[in-house]
């Protein structure tokens, strides 16, 4: 995204390689547009720093801060020497007025975020942990454009903790049930990945559970 230099003068910030821009759990009100260099987004999961995404010039990140008063959900770290434009709720409208294309891109991001949030909510509305876990795998598959009807083994680069996070359940409980799944050959758990044998079976479990749920009401 092209910005004139006066924008950088007013809103520009520079970071050196390895500098943290913001940190997971830190309260934050700013969001950023990447002008130069790359930024990685990481999360510490079971004592390992995992890179979730890498942003390139033109990308926008941290935008959830202008919507909700939640702390940051991940850490942003400069990979290279990085130039950013930094905005907040107060100067957001000013920014949009001067940059219609940027405003449109943010609109697209928000559209996607609503879908993601609703998809997550769908997992949480299931009545039991087993089907929640199955649905979490289905959601991860959708994100990777893998068909839920897949009957071939599917590898997910995920951990028990992450699945527990999506299910909103305690890690120990989720670990126990994943252990049962593993014992019955439904999946294999490795240190850095989980291989689901038959995604379609999970799809059917979730579908039946939802059907039963809507009949109850």
């Amino acid at each position: 995204m092209k910005m004139d230099s006066s924008m950088f003068g007013r809103f520009g910030v520079t970071y050196q390689p390895d500098d943290i821009i913001f940190c997971e759990y830190e309260p934050g009100k700013d969001f950023y547009i990447l002008q130069e260099g790359r930024v990685k987004v990481t999360k510490i999961v079971s004592d390992m720093e995992k890179t979730l995404d890498i942003f390139h010039p033109g990308d926008i990140f941290g935008e959830m801060a202008i919507i909700e008063d939640q702390p940051r959900s991940a850490t942003a770290i400069a990979i290279d020497k990085v130039k950013l434009l930094r905005f907040n709720k107060e100067n957001f409208d000013l920014l949009l007025q001067g940059n219609p294309q940027l405003a449109f891109n943010i609109l697209k991001i928000f559209s996607n975020r609503i879908y993601d949030a609703k998809r997550r909510l769908l997992i949480l509305t299931l009545p039991d942990i087993e089907s929640k876990i199955c649905d979490a795998f289905l959601m991860l598959a959708e994100n990777q454009h893998i068909s839920p009807k897949s009957t071939n083994p599917v590898t997910f680069n995920t951990k028990v903790e992450e699945i527990a996070h999506w299910c909103g359940e305690k890690v120990s409980k989720v670990r126990e049930i994943l252990g049962n799944f593993s014992d019955t050959g439904k999946l294999q758990i490795y240190e850095d990945r989980i291989v689901v044998k038959n995604l379609y079976e999970m799809f059917r479990i979730v579908k039946n559970r939802r059907k039963a749920q809507s009949k109850e009401e």
Partner: protein, 347 residues
């Protein structure tokens, strides 16, 4: 004018829930209902679109399935736009985008609240402790710069927080190590017996009781070593790391530091031009800790050691290993540079 006008009879469907479509609609006249089931209650909901209102925007922009069925209630005239036409239209009138952003952020906030209501039982509100833990993670992995940022953020937001005391101690220790204060003097350690040892990610609310001075303060000694290294006192640093390694091997609480100590020993050996020994140290470290944070750097350093020994082929193979490994890191660039210098292409 952009788009095409279409007339619909009452009872016709403009799109079904689950359809994927690139069109965005504006109701010109008539009445359209959007029908969907509420996620949390499962009840059927009908939203009525009024003249002049857009619909189908979110799904078209996100390229996701329609969330509702658009049913025509009364004979209606609808303007049909492609996403590209919609973009052209609204970027000429930012006000429209701003209105949508307002609506969408309200929706996001609402869904976010619903999500949180399901998560009520988990320990929300412990952001303080989580922030502190992240600092501990970086400290443990000797990423001081990052640790420092996190600790300073902690103090900025939670000046009187539960961990403020510990955080301040950590900041002081890191600053000392970075500035090279109190280097090599073991005396300074015994003067601060209450400094907790950040060897585990578990939170220690209270300072652990010291074992009558027998506790090896691995963290503090470790900083001393790093500091000596930065002052180019490689021999001294190496000896310190070596003795620390021997002492830590027997101490469970120091287990997390061993791989880092080995890594630093390797770095010292390279700086002292003791290349074959450096290769041995890094190789053994990689074998023992194949998941270590410093894995890429260890591989890179082995490459450097081979380069100095004149073994170009082996050096190149290690630099290439670095580039094949995820996640990307600044080491990639260094490895690429070395490969270029060796006259080997990075791919």
């Amino acid at each position: 004018m952009l788009g095409i006008l279409r007339n619909y009879k009452a009872g016709s469907i403009i799109y079904f829930i689950g359809d994927i479509g690139d069109n965005i609609y504006v109701l010109k006249s008539g009445a359209v209902s959007l029908i969907y089931h509420s996620i949390d209650t499962g009840e059927e909901v009908r939203d009525t679109i009024r003249s002049g209102e857009f619909f189908g925007v979110k799904s078209a922009l996100a390229k996701r399935p329609r969330e509702e069925t658009a049913l025509v209630i009364k004979p209606s005239q609808v303007l049909v736009l492609t996403t590209a036409e919609f973009e052209l239209l609204v970027t000429k009138n930012v006000k429209i985008i701003q209105n949508f952003l307002r609506v969408f952020s309200n929706q996001l906030r609402r869904v976010g609240k619903q999500v949180h209501s399901f998560l009520n039982h988990t320990d929300i509100g412990d952001n303080q402790a989580e922030l502190f833990k992240i600092g501990e993670y970086y400290l443990k992995n000797h990423k001081y710069q990052q640790a420092l940022y996190v600790y300073q953020a902690y103090l900025k937001y939670y000046k009187n927080g539960n961990f403020a005391g510990q955080v301040q101690e950590r900041i002081n220790a890191i600053n000392d190590a970075m500035e090279g204060k109190g280097t090599g003097t073991y005396a300074s350690i015994s003067q601060e017996p209450e400094t907790p040892i950040p060897v585990s990610s578990e939170i220690q609310i209270e300072t652990p009781p010291s074992d009558t001075g027998e506790t090896i303060d691995v963290a503090t000694k470790y900083y001393d070593g790093v500091s000596l290294f930065s002052q180019e006192k490689y021999e001294e640093a190496f000896n310190l790391f070596k003795s620390l390694h021997t002492a830590s091997s027997a101490d469970q609480r120091a287990a997390d530091y061993i791989s880092k100590i080995e890594f630093e020993m390797g770095r010292c050996l390279i700086s002292m031009s003791r290349y074959p020994e450096a290769v041995r140290v890094f190789t053994s470290m990689i074998k023992k800790y194949p998941k270590d944070e410093n894995l890429k750097d260890a591989l890179y350093n082995i490459g450097i050691a081979y380069k100095h020994q004149g073994d170009k082929a082996k050096a190149a193979s290690f630099f290439q290993k670095v580039l094949k490994m995820l996640p990307e890191s600044p080491t990639d660039r260094k490895a690429k540079k070395e490969l270029a210098a060796l006259g080997v292409s990075a791919s």
